[in-house]
Symmetry: C2
Subunit: 414 residues, 2 copies
């Protein structure tokens, strides 16, 4: 008997290969890629879309470029006719922290969950077509489970398997306590895939374990197993940590064109290509050209970064806003108002500090009161953006440009 | 301010001490004994009985002398006016084995649970006053828990704490899998104590971990903590393993007077005193006398064992039946029909074997067919009891007396 792949027409096979090439672009891992091929082939032969799952934490609805790595991948599936399943993990959110220890994990009300979901969706709409998305709240099925069902579910996985999760393993190694309820979060995520019969689940590499739980439980419940598609994590503006709101190293997709552009210019040079790959719609060929040109010196890193900044702004605010943001940057930093060579000053203080402290510690201004006055007079710019709040806390990163008045400039070196 | 113990009258204090002396008799451990003193004192001062909990597995309702170790202790509490809470763990029984691996742990129906519970109670009635007992089925509250409640419960204990349970620890050490649902059995037992507000929970030493779960969860739910009262495990007739039906080394409390007496006579000499302590109503003083007399040789071990056998039969069948059973034993084994000295034969075969094999292997009879014929002709007795089934499997223990026909005797040595 012929396998499904052998039964495909030449055109169908080409279409499978075309899609797989797109989905493979920039990914960290597809587990296993053969099953994704089969699923895509089946969807073509049977003319039925695949179900592409993404789980969302309802407690942190601010979307930044780090999230768009996965969203861009979702969009590619959507553009090929597949269905996106967005799961709001509201069941977990409604429980809060049963140990009562974490203030951060407070219990969310129905209204808060709904509001946060709405905030997500408005932002997601900039990347994917929300009209075609399936929305699910997992409390719908999880809150219906009784103790007996939970025991049946728990009977389908071993303690040893759960302890393999990196963070659990680490906490065990260091003797840090794990509350038993924490073992249930991966179970819930896996069970969501059982209920929704997902074909593919997307996540960052930090979701490796949880996404594989879907495969595990689908198999135990005798369903077709989903494929895990893991995307690399995008480092934030500091070039080290994963982009996140709590690290204050992010570019939010709701930020103004000027902020977006300014922040883009502070991305470390060595991360530029990764940003092009993961958060723009540049093709692999286009990216290769940029890379080659940077290596041969044909393209100046600053110009490449300006292209990146302009592209990012264009995606979220359109071509006109992108042009304006670029023009603003050129005016402030390149046309006369900024010297060719800005003196670099080494920063050895706290990573996050107030602008006032920064100005005084760098000896750009003599006293805190002087610094405060200068901010109030709108005489301080950081990466070309005016500082308007004297209480503003700033994440001090390498390459940050500080302007005091019209002519005094400094560039941070860390 | 005076403590409760200091406020007691002289009579009240004496009463506390009297009760504690009784409850301490033969126990392995009371955790902690100070709290039991306080609870008893409070019950006297406030004239309210304590709640004494015992959990029962509904799948194995055959009660043997091993169970009566705990039952006797319950009776002592009951005789002092406290209330016995019997919990039928039917919730677990109704779930069966979620991994589907264990055939033994099959799902019980409501009818089976009820039937098994009834069987327990009929047998328990021989030791405790069942009219005064509180009966509970834990499915009543456990089946009502929803996933959210389970997570709240699981949030109150750490994975590390659960892994301390001896059998879990051992399985982890040997790389044997533990299904996650198994972690819930100790939680359920603990939660039962929360719901029932138990003051004391009884169990064998093998229940050490599970009984302490009650204290743990009562504290987490801000209830008064129960005291754990742990009884030693009674070794079975083989003198090695815990008495249990599956090891076939037990004396069932429903067995006939003759069987009971005969089996009692096969208890190893060195365990006699432990049996007197744990399953008879002999006082510590009486037991000390027996012990001393055995040591000085005033009392022959055989006579001490006859007293034990008679006492056991008396408890479960009354004085008359006990006299008869003793008389039967004397007739068969002591009055002429049994020689003074029975030749001992060493047994190196399987612990459990068929009577036919035993007879042939010991060379008491020449062939299997001869052995079968002798059984059919009712010519074989073991410990004075006729063997009526040629398929009968026997647990070969040290001291077992086999009689072939009228005059041939052999005593097993292991």
């Amino acid at each position: 008997m012929k396998t499904l792949m052998e039964q495909l027409t030449k055109d169908q096979l080409a279409e499978v290969q075309r899609q797989i090439a797109i989905y493979s672009q920039g990914v960290h891992d597809i587990i296993p890629v053969e099953e994704l091929e089969l699923k895509v082939a089946k969807s073509i032969v049977e003319n039925t879309p695949l179900k592409i799952k993404l789980g969302l934490d309802p407690s942190a609805p601010d979307v930044h470029l780090g999230h768009t790595v996965v969203l861009n991948k979702m969009r590619q599936f959507q553009e090929n006719g597949h269905i996106i399943q967005l799961i709001i993990g509201d069941f977990t959110g409604k429980i809060g922290d049963p140990t009562g220890k974490s203030v951060a994990r407070k219990q969310l009300t129905d209204e808060e969950v709904k509001h946060n979901a709405k905030t997500y969706f408005e932002q997601f709409a900039k990347v994917i077509d929300m009209e075609k998305v399936e929305l699910h709240y997992n409390s719908k099925w999880l809150s219906e489970l009784k103790f007996e069902d939970v025991i049946q579910l728990a009977g389908k996985i071993t303690v040893a398997r759960l302890m393999e999760r990196d963070d659990f393993e680490e906490r065990i190694a260091f003797g840090k306590p794990i509350s038993l309820h924490e073992f249930f979060y991966p179970l819930m995520q896996g069970y969501d895939s059982v209920v929704l019969e997902s074909d593919v689940e997307l996540g960052g590499t930090d979701q490796h374990f949880n996404v594989l739980m879907g495969r595990h439980f689908q198999e135990k419940f005798r369903k077709e197993k989903q494929v895990a598609l893991l995307m690399p994590l995008l480092e934030g503006l500091d070039g080290v940590e994963k982009m996140s709101k709590s690290k204050n190293n992010y570019i939010g997709i709701d930020e103004s064109p000027q902020e977006m552009y300014g922040k883009s210019m502070s991305i470390p040079d060595e991360l530029m290509i990764k940003y092009f790959e993961l958060i723009t719609d540049f093709t692999p060929d286009q990216i290769k050209t940029i890379k080659d040109d940077l290596e041969t010196g044909v393209l100046h890193p600053r110009d490449a970064k300006m292209l990146l900044g302009k592209t990012i702004v264009k995606i979220y605010h359109g071509t006109e806003a992108a042009e304006k943001a670029e023009q603003h940057f050129i005016t402030v930093f390149q046309q006369g108002s900024m010297p060719e060579e800005i003196p670099a000053i080494e920063w050895k203080g706290e990573t996050v500090t107030s602008v006032i402290n920064l100005l005084v510690d760098l000896q750009l201004l003599k006293s805190k009161s002087e610094a405060r006055r200068m901010i109030e007079n709108r005489g301080i710019k950081i990466n070309g953006n005016k500082v308007e709040d004297s209480q503003f806390q700033i994440n001090v990163t390498d390459g940050l440009i500080i302007q005091v008045g019209k002519r005094k400039f400094a560039k941070i070196r860390i």
